[in-house]
Symmetry: C2
Subunit: 269 residues, 2 copies
């Protein structure tokens, strides 16, 4: 919390209030720092026709795709994680895709909603980062208001139907003295990517230049820092788009859905 | 392990050897005590037509339905947990259901296999019981070669499509001094039902007589013992059969599928 408080604007209102403010157009920022004790989620919306394969892909790749919620076809209410919420209006910004290409970016997805759509909500890194910060782990990107560094790796996801592709990972430089805490604090949250998938040599997972991420910002590695890699929620989005589904809706980067689940609800211990 | 060694026949061959012996008809016993350091799994096989709803039901009820594997339609190979195995032959005994009724019990399910079948493997209590025993927790039913006690509860599962019904729980009497260890040892295994869903008063979850289980054996409660309840793998089978699917295959009670996953693979920490 210290790191967040120092550098990031924190809003500790309850998720219900925050979602109402988003729905009413009164809150338009990215969601980092909003209700930091509650689980935020990645959104992926697909037609029912693709839903079985995508659900199976998530089941087979739980580190990359920690599923928190799947709505009934046509319903925009995530009954399990935020009863009463509306996934068409309660996210700040959405991207609309056709055949894998962005065709629109909107603040209200109601006009694009259809009776055959299934919404998937997936756990995100905010949950385990919060746990690491609370355990005393220093995270450079939070202290410097940057994004994490992300790469496509040589780790193949287990395919399911039309969906296949490499695991995307995020990297955070960790001080040697913080490494045990970073592992145990994140491992407690299998619902939010869990423990690191790799620690150390970037080349071992196919990363040739640790200063040149495929997505996000390059990280500052202080002397002795160890690069630590976690499965990243960009994976399912990248895999879904690579299959060029006829239609898909996602949240816009940084603008997550805020659930009613306290972070502790995802803790295994 | 002490409890197992004292009273139960242990076979520590690798799962591959045990499955070969089962396939060849040379091993016909129940699987308790076989390869105790490896994950055993419940089997449910359904036509593709019911597979989406069942997969969604498992996603929505992870405590009762900890999914370990879902095969591609028509494939009997559980590639994720036991590559090379054959789910039609590598289980000792199967039950064949039509419209929710048992129509056959067989030692080889090949004759019943179809191109549209999807096999689901779900984590089972052996994994967390082994963890509790290794943590020093005494378990009456293991020491006395009984089954656990099981009840349908007043806890409704979250429905998905055609599947709905109450959570079935298993109960083990725990000594007060063992309670913390019982909780933490089982909580480490969210892939095998995880932490207890209830501790103490049976009436709170709709159980009227703790000496009269709906399934399994009544447990001996020593003075001071606390009844501890875990979500049970009977839930998905009961829920699936209650929907009277046209066709379904399961393992026969006590005759689980033995995977290549060490128990530690399911541990969150």
């Amino acid at each position: 919390m210290l790191q967040y408080n120092r550098l990031m604007s924190i809003d500790v209102r309850h998720p219900k209030e925050l979602r109402a403010a988003i729905r009413g157009g009164k809150l338009t920022r990215t969601t980092a720092g909003l209700a930091p004790d509650y689980v935020q989620a990645n959104l992926a919306v697909l037609p029912k026709e693709q839903a079985y394969d995508f659900l199976l892909f998530c089941q087979r790749n739980p580190r990359s795709c920690p599923l928190l919620e799947v709505t009934d076809a046509g319903s925009a209410e995530p009954k399990g994680v935020a009863p009463g919420a509306d996934l068409r209006t309660d996210i700040v910004k959405y991207r609309i895709y056709k055949h894998g290409e962005v065709v629109d970016e909107v603040t209200d997805a109601t006009a694009y909603w259809r009776d055959d759509l299934v919404a998937f909500l997936l756990g995100c890194s905010f949950t385990f980062e919060q746990a690491m910060v609370q355990a005393g782990v220093r995270l450079w990107h939070l202290e410097n208001e940057k994004a994490v560094a992300m790469w496509r790796t040589n780790i193949e996801c287990r395919p399911a139907g039309v969906f296949h592709g490499p695991m995307v990972v995020s990297m955070r430089p960790i001080r040697p003295g913080d490494l045990s805490k970073a592992v145990t604090a994140s491992a407690r949250f299998p619902g939010a990517h869990g423990a690191p998938v790799h620690i150390g040599d970037p080349a071992a997972i196919g990363i040739t230049d640790v200063q040149k991420p495929h997505y996000g910002d390059a990280q500052h590695m202080a002397s002795g820092d160890i690069p630590v890699f976690w499965a990243c929620g960009v994976t399912p989005q990248a895999v879904a788009l690579a299959s060029k589904p006829p239609f898909m809706i996602t949240h816009s980067p940084g603008h997550m859905f805020i659930t009613d689940l306290p972070n502790s609800a995802l803790s295994a211990l």
